[in-house]
Assembly symmetry: C2
Homo-oligomer: 260 residues x 2
């Protein structure tokens, strides 16, 4: 256990870079999780904790959680409250932050589960939406999530927090071209969610496993080439005045209809 | 049309107070909306625009929208880009911001629509959730929204933006005690959404109009006295590992099941 006091410390600088840059997260193979619950979730999910950062206050208030976390962390650093505030993303920091190694679950997708239900995300950009969508996917027991590689980074701190730790547990695959990946997995029935009154209503379709519902970008929907590569086009019928739902609200309904 | 150059101007100070303080919004009977789309939405919804704030750039880029907005605004002020950045909530400001008079739609609730479907929110706190929920409510044609008065303020800038203007158009009522309000409206069938495996599954219940689905606080769910005053308890069955959905994701599914 070491004590850190300076903003210029290499560990502190590393945290700030991990918070800000998806590129740096990819290069270093690490990301950060802040908050008691999400850090404990990471340990329980078997994630490798490279470093734990805590305040004295946090150790005193949550000694059991601290013992669990520090026994799983390669290194533990104690920070003053002021220094913790400096690295924290939240208004009232709980005093727990972990640097965690990213996981590669791509092997999970070598074979599509015949009874499986999957989620596909095409260029979803907003980290709050992505976190909420991953949380819904886990809640409803989705087998895995396939994401175009221009989606928001799953290790963005807002995604990690918003997903309530689902990023640690879900099987997630990043692919450069969804239409190519669909062609390589022809048994998967793909249902593109579109805003189109002529598409089949989501409540009038039987999702045939193995299947996947495909959700697109917040502003532009699913890319044309991705939609063209899908087997079906489905829509959520709406009676009201608004043009569309928030992407995470639409995703919740679509996943719910697929799995229920 | 007046030009503002100073941060110390009373109009600028007024905007900052309207952004930050729900109490000040209530006292002054005004709120702000930022962004081209949401400002135009406000005008189209018949909201009274007390003042329009624009940059020269915004006028040049969107002259039609500017003409519409300024013709409906009591006063128009032109700001330098730097001053607009100072009042803006967004990273890339569009250069349009309106001060709008709050609307009272409580008269709409004097009589419950016999065929109506309503949404009730009990102490929902997160502005992003509330915005998304109101957007979903409008998308599915919900008749009206009844909110406990300790919910997040609907005129919080994040709610206004996240609702995509639904706050201008939806009939929304604030009440101090939901259980009292339910007792005063005995014809309304109330369905409390709870996390409880023994509650009736939302997909196995017929919502009998006039009806309302009741959604609770993000952390603590529906208040005990509110839940006790409801006719039914319903739940969203989940197979996965997560304990619960994000409040706005749960709301989307519940509203969808109620109206479909």
């Amino acid at each position: 256990m070491k004590t850190l006091t300076s903003k210029d410390n290499a560990q502190i600088k590393n945290i700030l870079k991990l918070k800000k840059s998806a590129k740096y997260r990819r290069q270093s193979g690490c990301f950060i999780a802040e908050g008691l619950r999400v850090c404990v979730d990471a340990v329980l999910s078997g994630a490798e904790i490279q470093a734990l950062f805590v305040t004295k206050d946090a150790i005193e208030k949550n000694s059991d959680a601290y013992n669990t976390l520090s026994s799983h962390a390669d290194e533990t650093f104690v920070l003053s409250s002021a220094l913790f505030d400096y690295i924290s993303d939240t208004q009232t920091p709980q005093g727990f932050l972990c640097v965690i190694k990213t996981l590669d679950k791509s092997a999970y997708f070598d074979k599509i589960d015949n009874g499986g239900k999957y989620l596909v995300l095409d260029n979803v950009q907003d980290p709050n939406n992505l976190g909420t969508i991953l949380r819904s996917a886990e809640a409803f027991g989705v087998c895995g999530v396939i994401m175009s590689d221009d989606c928001c980074d799953i290790y963005n701190p807002k995604v990690v927090r918003g997903s309530m730790g689902a990023v640690f547990r879900l099987a997630i695959l990043s692919v450069s071209d969804l239409s190519v990946w669909f062609a390589e997995h022809p048994t998967l029935n793909t249902y593109a969610a579109v805003v189109d009154k002529d598409a089949v209503k989501v409540n009038e379709i039987a999702f045939e496993p193995p299947c996947a519902v495909v959700i697109g970008n917040e502003g532009n929907g699913i890319r044309q080439e991705t939609a063209a590569a899908c087997n079906h086009k489905i829509t959520i019928p709406m009676d009201g005045k608004a043009e569309s739902l928030n992407a995470s609200a639409a995703a919740a309904i679509l996943i719910w209809e697929m799995v229920k």
